[in-house]
Amino acid sequence: MEGTEELLKQLKQWSNVAEQRIREIPAEQLYVSIGVLFLTFILFLLIRLLKRTKSNTIVLTGLSGSGKTILFYQLRDGSSHQGTVTSMEPNAGSFVLHSESEKKGKINPVCVIDVPGHSRLRPKLDDYLPQAAGLVFVVDALDFLPNCRAAAEYLYDILTKASVVKKKIPMLILCNKTDKVTAHTKDFIRKQLEKEIDKLRTSRTAISDADIANEYTLGVTGEAFAFSQCYNKVVVAESSGLTGEISQVEQFIREIVRP
């Protein structure tokens, strides 16, 4: 009891001394110091926020054979070289887009990752999604209808992943190989994909709490699914990897990486 009383006395003494010291400091200095501390704190917060949105990684994904690797090399070098085969590993590179390489001044390099589309290598996508600032889902516009279901399932899986929904990663659905005559238009592809995803929604959410594979549900119940109902921004565009017609892709990338 005496010990605690003594401690309390000591504490009181110290607080009195401290008060006196503080009172001694002229008011302006006090305010200035507090103000400086406050400012540095705010600056710190701002920098952290900015750094988080600074990610400049674009992930290319899609079914096997849709043209991701060709697109990667087009973005990087402006030519498709001697052709490609089915990728077994991801292609990653941080570079300035080829079409912008002639511009002067400091240009932010873009990090592009091309993830293999083969179904056995699907788990690799999960390794790269956390760092993605934007997703490009490449669809083969030429051979679309036989693969429509597989493409829709893959797209559905991506759109219902937690990381994509929470971070609202913008997505571009790219209809590739449009240089060929028999390629479908992007509107047709968009409508077909929406229909397929609608069907998937009903079959996957037959029992709502049994939906273990997908972490979120898509769209609004009762209405037909449309890409505009997604939390993240979904845009559709056309391109042709072989001929180099990738202006829409580059536009999308520039919107994300250098706002």
Binding site: S64, G65, T69, Y73, D77, H81, Q82, G83, T84, V85, T86, S87, M88, E89, P90, N91, D114, P116, H118, S119, R120, L121, R122, P123, R149, A150, E153, K199, L200, T202, S203, R204, A206, I207, D209, A210, I212
Partner: protein, 617 residues
């Protein structure tokens, strides 16, 4: 003549193709090679055959794991060229000198390719000459050489002993037709590639030959040969443990025991009249919480205790300093340990062997980073390979398929096949229960017209689940019964028809023929092979024979093979989950369901990550 020679990166970009052999390849052999062979972890094979309408190619390949490059040669299968392996090796060396990650085109290689090919062809011609001269002697000497080598391998590890038999055997090897190895013997400037092991099936002495001749006389050769000889003579016998039943709560037993009730018609259904389930949900729909625990380093330490003290010190030193290039001899002990571990987990011996070869092929020549142990590199590579094999190649969303068939107005037909006593009827009922919970109308077809009580068994299940059953009694042709069942289902609007067949051994020709007829006649949407998780090496035999018989005996041009696997009795194995791996590897079909108990709710999906973790624990 060579059709084409390609060099491409693992990421998919073609770096160089031979321009003078400008033949366009028919079909897409390279893509098929990647999809059906390299991604299926069969890269330990020596060659791959590709058939396209009009041509049939044979493809051979070589990896450069350090730079991440693949060299593929394509030629007509009927030609049986002998210099291809030799040529691939020399191209690989040449290219590795020139390679630069920034460069995309390598035109100067055309000239060097010509030279190398001519040199390889000349060497092959020379060998052919030599062998034709020595051929009459070769056959008799083969016997001697075989015995001599086997004995010498059993005892010493010296090169000198092997040398006597070498000359004679090199000729006889040619007689074997495995001429690629001969080319390798002559030009043994680098380490023998692991793909040579694939042909070890033909004769264990072949491989030993090469390794003895290769530079350095590594100590691994004999060990490898002994492994193969031993594995051939003594197939591992994994004894079956007694089944240990989990402690189930008593109420469950009481609930489902209706033997005391008199009238059979009073059997209570698990699903009431509206089809709304009033019992537990099938475990297919339950989320599995898999806790991710970090790897324990102790496992690796215990594995390494076997090596001598000196070996431990040098491996520690190597792991810190990092080694220039991984070689076969370095990978051998780690791979052997991994293979043994897999086999103790009930993976079939053949499969474990092939997997290890494939992993070796993908790791050889890679640069080891510092502070990494060889065993951890091998383990990571094996883990990746296992995940890749067990990840399904196509979608296993049955409900989606059912909906698609419903739209077309046809019933979705599933046929359950398998050997005797694996649990087809039980698991058929479980699948029916699960489908009922997802608002799908099911019908059961009793096409097991052989076993006594099979039809009654299904009748009981159907009554419990309140679903229609189509039966025609015993001693009827199952194919006809199935056909009529499907017609009945179309008539009364059932979404799914589950067809139960009789169990049959894979060697029984007439029964397999009957099965093939059933499948051909009814063209089901899904052929589900039911296999039990307790099976050991026989899984490989069962599945390959089933697939083969279905392909051979089918009368139609389009053959239906096994589309999916249903793994049963999963609760009886604790952590010996290797049967899943063997079955998926040998057939390529995904595991669609896992039966883990004997009640209606005991049906799960396969959790790839947990299986891989259990296999490598």
């Amino acid at each position: 003549m060579l059709e084409q020679l390609l060099i491409f990166t693992r990421g998919g970009l073609i770096l160089w193709t031979c321009k003078e052999l400008g033949n366009a390849l028919r079909g897409s052999p390279i893509d098929t090679l990647i999809r059906s062979c390299l991604l299926e972890e069969r890269s330990g094979q020596t060659s791959y055959n590709y058939d396209a309408p009009g041509t049939s190619y044979c493809l051979k390949w070589i990896f450069n794991n350090d730079l991440g490059l693949i060299f593929v040669a394509v030629y007509q299968r009927i030609l049986n060229l002998l210099y291809v392996d030799d040529l691939l090796l020399s191209m690989k060396e040449k290219f590795s000198e020139v390679y630069d990650p920034k460069r995309m085109s390598y035109d100067e290689l055309d000239a060097s390719f010509k030279q190398l090919r001519e040199a390889a062809e000349a060497r092959a011609e020379k060998l052919k000459m030599l062998n034709q001269v020595a051929k009459p002697m070769g056959i008799s000497n083969r016997r001697l050489g075989q015995m001599g080598i086997a004995r010498s391998n059993g005892g010493e590890k010296k090169m000198a002993n092997g040398k006597d038999g070498d000359e004679k055997d090199s000729d006889s090897l040619k007689g074997n037709g495995s001429s690629s190895h001969v080319g390798m013997i002559e030009k043994s400037s680098t380490v023998v590639k692991s793909k040579e092991n694939g042909s070890s099936e033909k004769g264990a002495f072949d491989v030993s030959k090469l390794k003895l001749k290769s530079k350095g006389g590594k100590k691994n050769d004999t060990a490898a040969v002994i492994n193969k000889v031993v594995s051939k003579t003594e197939p591992k016998k994994i004894t079956k443990k007694n089944r240990v039943w989990d402690d189930k709560p008593k109420e469950v037993v009481v609930e489902l025991d209706y033997s005391k009730e008199k009238g059979e018609e009073k059997v209570e259904a698990n699903v009431d009249e509206n089809g709304v389930p009033n019992l537990r949900k099938s475990m297919m729909d339950k989320d599995e919480n898999v806790s991710s625990d970090s790897e324990s380093e102790e496992e690796e330490e215990s594995g390494n205790n076997n090596t001598k003290k000196k070996g431990w010190f040098s491996s520690m030193f190597q792991s810190i300093a990092g080694k220039a290039n991984l070689e076969k001899s370095d990978l051998e002990p780690a791979l052997k340990a991994l293979k043994d571990r897999l086999m103790t987990k009930n993976v079939a011996e053949e499969i474990a062997e092939k997997l290890c070869e494939s992993v070796a092929a993908s790791l050889e020549g890679k640069k080891m980073a510092s502070f990494t142990r060889i065993s951890s590199i091998v383990k990571t590579a094996m883990e990746e390979a296992l995940v890749r094999i067990l990840t399904p190649r196509r979608s296993i969303d049955i409900l989606r398929d059912v909906h698609a068939a419903k739209e077309q107005g046809k019933p979705y037909v599933v046929v359950f096949v398998g050997v005797n006593g694996v649990g087809k009827s039980t698991n058929l009922a479980k699948v029916a229960y699960w489908l009922l919970q997802h608002d799908v109308s099911v019908m059961v077809a009793a096409c097991d017209t052989f076993r006594s009580g099979a039809v009654e068994q299904l009748r009981t299940h159907a009554r419990r689940l309140q679903i229609p059953i189509f039966e025609k009694g015993y001693e009827k042709d199952p194919a006809i019964v199935a056909k009529e069942a499907i017609q009945e289902a179309t008539r009364n609007g059932s979404d799914v028809v589950l067809v139960d067949t009789a169990g049959r051994m894979q060697d029984n020709e007439p029964l397999m023929r009957a099965l093939s007829k059933l499948i051909y006649l009814n063209s089901p949407d899904l052929v589900l092979f039911v296999g039990e998780a307790l099976v050991g090496n026989d899984a490989v035999d069962q599945l390959s024979k089933f697939d083969q018989k279905l392909a051979d005996l089918s009368a139609s041009p389009s053959t239906r093979l096994i589309d999916g696997i249903l793994l049963t009795k999963f609760d009886t194995i604790d952590d010996k989950v290797g049967a899943a791996l063997s079955m998926v590897y040998i057939s390529g079909a995904p595991v669609m369901f896992v039966g883990c108990g004997q009640s209606y709710t005991d049906l799960k999906k396969l959790n790839v990550k947990s299986i891989v973790r259990t296999l490598l624990k």
